[in-house]
């Protein structure tokens, strides 16, 4: 599996981070302050999650005045909508299973 996919996976594996990303995707840009008010997570935690999303390049931050405005980079999900890549991995793993089934059929 490509590294870019793993990074995006890890970032979105956490439900809180996924929630933040979904919110930015759905409602457009937000400040940390606005995101904190909207959820039940403390501001330091929201900042931490945003930093992780930024490392995965799922979110970009734009500083205006005192606050940073965060928005989703939906193009970062591109590795995940790579059907060819997905099914390549899928069928390799299924073929391994098929081999196991063929072995068991002898018994």
């Amino acid at each position: 599996m490509q590294r870019s996919v793993e990074i995006v996976f890890k970032a979105l594996a956490d439900p809180t981070r996924r929630g933040i990303f979904e919110r930015l995707t759905r409602d457009g840009e937000h400040t940390v302050h606005a995101l904190t008010q909207a959820g039940r997570v403390s501001q330091p935690m929201v900042s931490k999650h945003l930093a992780a999303l930024k490392r995965a390049r799922l979110v970009r931050g734009c500083r205006r005045g005192r606050e940073t405005h965060y928005s989703a980079r939906q193009e970062a999900l591109a590795p995940l909508v790579d059907w060819v890549g997905h099914y390549g991995v899928f069928w390799q793993s299924k073929m391994d299973r098929l081999e196991d089934v063929l072995e068991r059929m002898d018994k």
Binding site: V81, V84, E99, L102
Partner: protein, 141 residues
């Protein structure tokens, strides 16, 4: 492993099994055996038969792949449509006897560039896909 032409792309996985074609054919076409390596199903090796492959549902995806049998040539070729999450593709297994057993070529064809973008739509959401991928990745370990 992948090929490309102007309009569609394919996934091709080839494997040689140390088992005769008759046996591999059974694993590809008997419902109870298919379930053991692929998914739960109501497959029948009859051209034109519509069936479903079912995984455990995940958020935003019911886990269902809609299929229809296109071609059945015992011990040689099995082909069916594979439709899920806006993806319309065709899966074809081709069996070739070898000295050691059977060579199996699986080709899933018909990935169009616009189908790759299907997931970006809100209809299915991307979470179901991610969960599906996570499961595949987990199986690799």
């Amino acid at each position: 492993m992948t090929t490309s032409d102007a309009s569609t792309r394919s996934v091709i996985v080839e494997r040689e099994f140390a088992h005769p074609p008759e046996k591999v054919w059974r694993a590809l076409t008997e419902s109870s055996l298919i379930e053991q390596w692929l998914m739960k199903n109501d497959f029948q090796p009859v051209t034109g038969h519509s069936f479903q492959l079912r995984m455990e549902p995940v958020p935003n995806w019911n886990g269902v792949v809609d299929c229809r049998v296109l071609d059945v040539e015992p011990r040689k070729t099995l082909s069916y449509t594979w439709g899920t999450l806006g993806l319309e593709s065709v899966v074809t297994f081709t069996l070739t006897p070898t000295a050691a057993g059977t060579h199996v070529r699986m080709e899933q064809s018909g990935f169009r560039p616009d189908q790759e973008a299907a997931y970006k739509g809100a209809t299915y959401g991307w979470r179901g896909f991610i969960d599906g991928l996570e499961r595949v990745v987990a199986e690799l370990k």
